[in-house]
């Protein structure tokens, strides 16, 4: 790669101690996306994402470009609330088998708590874990 490169196993502060760079690598988000799933769906911004699949009301799939090492990575999802600021939530959609995520994709959904039904909205998601 024709770019500057710093190789280091440890970062050391003059007074506050040192940190193994593995903590930095392992602790960085590997993928994130900001999706508007209202109207005609669109990815507003992202990193390490190839596409969003709009699977129907309030649920979709995030497809990853640089795959994770396996399907046991961590996914965090948040969403916009309704106008009152409450009553909406979201999560990783696993279906009845609980095995929807793969190293290259994960499915997320958003719903109205009191109505127990899916609803379109905005998705903010990111992943942590090991890359392939």
């Amino acid at each position: 790669m024709a770019l500057g490169k710093i190789k280091a196993d440890t970062l050391e502060h003059s007074t506050a101690g040192s940190l193994d760079t593995q903590y930095v690598v392992n602790g960085s988000a590997k993928q994130w996306s900001y999706v508007n799933d209202t109207g005609t769906s669109a990815i507003i911004d992202s990193f390490n994402t190839t596409s969003w699949s709009d699977n129907g009301t309030g649920n979709g799939t995030v497809n990853i470009a640089s795959s994770m090492g396996n399907a046991t990575y961590n996914i965090s999802v948040s969403t916009n609330a309704d106008n009152g600021g409450i009553n909406r939530t979201c999560g990783v959609f696993t279906g009845t088998s609980g095995t929807t995520s793969t190293a290259g994709l994960y499915r997320i959904s958003r719903w109205i708590i009191t109505a127990n039904s899916l609803e379109d909205g905005y998705f903010y998601s990111n992943t942590f874990g090991d890359l392939a």
């Binding site: 790669m1 996306s33 911004d45 190839t50 596409s51 699977n55 190293a103 090991d130």
Partner: protein
């Protein structure tokens, strides 16, 4: 024009970091409508703007076949972790694509093979590439959306 560094051998994630820093995202107007289950509504694939910028730039993305190899590994019995991730990073990156070629790549990466392998051989198409303005303007009855039965393969070729 931004010149892509020689990326073969560089981790794909690092290449994407470079792209995020150096390339302007490209919002595609193309959408892929597909059906992969009789029991579910039509799904709509939306290209990522930063990924599309990589595709148009060239020299960043691996050939799509690499993803198929990794999918085979993951589907194999006893899979615990990818051991051939190097395929993503060490295979020669592909050249710049047109937006249409990038959509074809995306279909082969992110749609199930059962959809695109023989998309035009059934009673009706299982997949349609369209522009976003051709989709319904509102999401009313979204869970009932299906590809029109009246749409023929001949229409698709026209």
């Amino acid at each position: 024009m931004t010149v892509t560094p020689e990326f073969q051998g560089t981790h794909l994630w690092d290449r994407l970091c470079w792209a995020k820093e150096n390339l302007e995202g490209h919002q595609s107007d193309y959408r892929v409508v597909y059906e992969d289950s009789l029991d579910e509504c039509a799904k709509i694939l939306v290209p990522d703007p930063n990924w599309m910028a990589c595709a148009l730039q060239g020299g960043i993305l691996p050939p799509v076949e690499v993803y198929h190899e990794l999918a085979k590994d993951e589907a194999s019995e006893g899979f615990t972790k990818h051991t051939r991730g190097y395929l993503l990073h060490e295979t020669k990156p592909i050249d710049a694509m047109t937006e249409e070629q990038a959509i074809e790549y995306l279909i082969m990466k992110d749609c199930p093979q059962s959809v695109w392998r023989d998309y035009d051989s059934g009673n009706k198409p299982k997949m349609v590439i369209c522009r976003k303005e051709q989709l319904p303007a509102t999401r009313e009855w979204r869970n009932a959306w299906k590809i029109s039965e009246e749409l023929t393969v001949t229409d698709l070729a026209a």
